[in-house]
Amino acid sequence: MSDGIEGDASVSDERERAFNERLDRSLKIEPTNWMPDAYRKTLVRQISQHAHSEIVGMLPEGNWITRAPSLQRKLILLAKVQDEAGHGLYLYSAAETLGTPRDEMVAALHAGKAKYSSIFNYPTLQWADVGAIGWLVDGAAIINQIPITRCSYGPYARAMVRICKEESFHQRQGFDIMWTLAHGTPEQHAMAQDALDRWWWPAVMMFGPPDTDSTHNEQSLRWKIKLFTNDELRQKFIDQTVPQAEQLGLVIPDPHLRWNAEKEHYEIGSIDWDEFYRVIRGDGPCNKDRLQTRIEAWEEGAWVREAAAEYARKRGAQSASP
């Protein structure tokens, strides 16, 4: 009989083989399945980043709920931002199945240790920005998210199925705002163009750095956490969005944009990756504000959470019937 260390190693080899076999057979990995630590860590990072993006993502549009210009628009926007809170919750719930409590993930966000989608560090300066976010940002998000419905981790895939289904109206409502503005008064048309001018490039950057620079691409593709590369998804977004801009009668702010008939793809000018990394590092227009707002909500809510916990403790929540 071999010594303990060798024995452990062979057990872990066996588990790793079983894990890889599940991946190869496209079977879902479930919370109770053995998984490599690196897979678990990568997932927690990716899912919690995704959750943080939903929660921080409520802020730029949330700004405009109180100022939406009609009751119908207000209801739609409120329902959309509410969905984002819900989607954040679905995702935290998926991440918690990996053993990391939500409070820990939220604390990492507040401490500036966790990332969220950089797009939300840009400001919503006028009403058309709400339209541009729905059309471009949600449009890009859907392209990113649909493949994840088939990712290897069960709870993440299932959360994403639900999210994609619910978000199907998000992009449309944004396009609808843009359409109304683009076909409205000259002033409204100018608002729509201004919003496109400011949101186009950040939306294109949402797919992350080019494949040549992306650090996580290869491993995540092998683990089936990611199914397409950043550049593949980005191209899909550009190809579907350029004609929509034309239909809106708006101009994409890129003088180098051209149709490549041979490749049957649009080609764009060069992306300002310096800006991308600058915003990620924390120097975007709203990084400080966004995080501060979340921290304030959390800190100002502390007494409420304590009160409810204390009330439950007094009442013996476990035995209390609802």
Binding site: T32, N33, W34, L89, S93, E96, P101, E166, R305, P322
Partner: protein, 96 residues
Amino acid sequence: MKKKHEWPQWEVFVRSEAGLAHKHVGSLHAADARMALENARDVYTRRNEGVSIWVVKSDDVYATDPSESEEFFDPSEGKSYRYPTYYHVPEGVKHL
């Protein structure tokens, strides 16, 4: 390290329509069972997805261990005599 204001986690099960079984949809946090039900209603049935909700504290859920799944589940394979198609019904016999 648990702080005293951390709310417990609850698993949420929703019956989507009368006659169907409750199905697990996800989890949430709530201070007590009543709040868990209310939060489940708001978080998981915004689109009319439910007619009934169960919540269970996540700590109270016990699951089978995948490493034991062979001994747990394989023995029920190969028992074809549990299915009606196993049996030959003589011609002309009805209501069987």
